[in-house]
């Protein structure tokens, strides 16, 4: 009787273990927080606008002529500005995701040594961002800390995060414009 009990317990344990291993292998990705999900939705909406604008300008090809690159970038930026003429700060970075990102950056910054903070802030531009503004070519694009990129919500190729002296901006790479920003991130 005792043997049967142990056998049953053993069988149940083995099945349980198998189920849990199987479950772990097929576990769905961790659900994004509501704020991240909303952010992703808004990023996708921006990409739709970008794609619409992209279709209105000549396609970007590899070229020997730098004038083509420059005029294409400006034309794309203009087309996006027209399509989202009413865009306001916070349209993509909602209040909730902005706060989450702000906390992530502040925590990362706090945990850095003095030397690491110096590198973090190295050549960070000092201009006040505006939505839809062209990123000024007189300022460098500050290097984004690789370890911080690991913890921020992922972005499609068209967009990237960049740091300014007091802000995090969302930059449209091809159009070279500021899509949105968060202030007070350090």
């Amino acid at each position: 009787m005792l043997n049967l009990k142990f056998s049953l317990i053993g069988a149940v344990s083995v099945v349980g273990l198998l189920l849990s291993v199987d479950g772990a292998a097929q576990a769905p990705p961790k659900p994004a927080t509501a704020a991240t999900a909303e952010f992703n939705k808004r990023v996708a909406a921006y990409i739709d606008v970008h794609n619409k604008a992209d279709a209105q300008v000549p396609s970007l090809k590899r070229t020997d002529d730098p004038a083509e690159l420059s005029s294409r970038e400006i034309a794309l930026g203009d087309a996006i500005r027209t399509l989202r003429a009413d865009a306001r700060p916070g349209d993509i970075f909602t209040k909730d995701i902005a706060e989450q990102i702000r906390q992530l950056i502040k925590k990362d910054f706090r945990n850095r040594t003095r030397e690491e903070r110096k590198i973090f802030l190295d050549e960070v531009p000092h201009f006040r961002p505006r939505v839809n503004q062209r990123y000024p070519s007189t300022w460098p694009l500050a290097t984004f800390p690789a370890t911080l990129l690991d913890v921020l919500p992922k972005l499609p190729d068209t967009l990237e995060y960049r740091l300014l002296s007091e802000a995090l901006i969302l930059r449209d790479v091809k159009a070279n414009i500021v899509a949105d920003f968060i202030l007070d991130v350090y």
Binding site: L69, E116, S137, P140, T143, A146, N176
Partner: protein, 314 residues
């Protein structure tokens, strides 16, 4: 007495004059082996100012003796504006003799570069922010160190793993080791160095700091900073235990030759003087041997022992 003093002054002046007028040595320290991979390295070059042109001229002079087929650019290819005339003044005009000779330039993005430079054909980036290409027995990995996101590191790992080349050579703007104003990029190092070690990288080139620096092998990897192709931060090299050779007194570029298991390098300043030279020899199952080192301040080549820092798992 007065005549004697005058004669000494005249002789001294003559000696100094002769020294000043002496042709500056432009000795090639590379072996020019048949079928070798030959290239030059520049970084932080795109100023459009006179010093960039002078260094470019020196590169062309060396090209006549050492016909390299391509140049890798460590970033900051165009400072300031990126109007069409900037591409001309800061790239096409200074390197015209090399471009006319069909020398190819392979750029990487610096923090002063608009990522849309990747569509500019003469930079050979294939429309990509990061890319790879092969020359002989060497594979090059041009990385975008401004934005090292997980997608890029996954790509790098895949490419390093797939590379059967004898020499794997990543290059990117921000140095993992540097004793200059910007300092070592520890964030990037945390992400990249484990991959470099795991997949047997021997040599890495970077810029960002406006000087030349060769770093003692770190976990078997020799890091070069070559970021004085147009900009110079004179006197910026701080003392650091990891420095093998450094030079911050003038602009500089590098020439490199790879023949089988040997990589020979030479760093040259605007006057054509050699500021460092040496040899890196790959060894199966062991850290490479690095021999070399000379600067105008210490002209005698000094043999450097293999990396003392760590028993690297290579």
């Amino acid at each position: 007495m007065a005549t004697s003093i005058l004669r000494r002054v005249v002789v001294a002046a003559a000696v100094i004059g002769c020294w000043l007028a002496a042709p500056i040595a432009q000795d090639l320290a590379l072996p020019l082996k048949p079928n070798s991979v030959r290239f030059a390295v520049i970084g932080d070059n795109g100023t459009g100012d006179k010093p960039q042109y002078e260094l470019a001229k020196q590169m062309a002079t060396y090209y006549a003796k050492f016909p390299f087929t391509f140049v890798i650019m460590n970033g900051d290819n165009l400072y300031g504006g990126e109007r069409p005339q900037d591409f001309v003044n800061k790239f096409e005009a200074p390197y015209k003799p090399l471009l006319d000779a069909k020398v190819e330039f392979y750029a990487t993005l610096g923090n002063h570069d608009d990522p849309n430079q990747r569509f500019y054909k003469p930079f050979n980036m294939g429309g990509q922010r990061y890319y790879t290409f092969k020359k002989g027995n060497a594979r090059f990995f041009s990385l975008d160190s401004n934005y090292m996101d997980p997608v890029q590191t996954a790509w790098l790992e895949k490419e390093l793993k797939a590379s059967g080349s004898d020499w794997k050579i990543p290059y990117f703007h921000h140095p993992l080791y540097s004793s200059g104003m910007h300092g070592s990029q520890v964030d990037l190092r945390a992400v990249l160095e484990p991959l470099f070690v795991k997949y047997g990288v021997d040599v890495v080139f970077s810029g960002h700091e406006h000087f030349y620096q060769r770093v003692k092998p770190q976990q078997g990897i020799t890091y070069f900073v070559s970021g004085a192709g147009g900009q110079l931060r004179r006197g910026d090299l701080k003392k650091a235990d990891f420095t093998a050779v450094g030079y911050d007194q003038d602009l500089s570029f590098m020439l490199v030759e790879i023949a089988d298991k040997e990589l020979t390098f030479q760093a040259i300043n605007r006057a054509g003087q050699t500021v460092d030279k040496g040899l890196i020899v790959q060894r199966a199952g062991a850290e490479p041997i690095v021999v070399g080192g000379s600067t105008p301040a210490s002209p005698a080549p000094v043999a450097k022992p293999p990396a003392p820092e760590s028993p690297a798992p290579k």
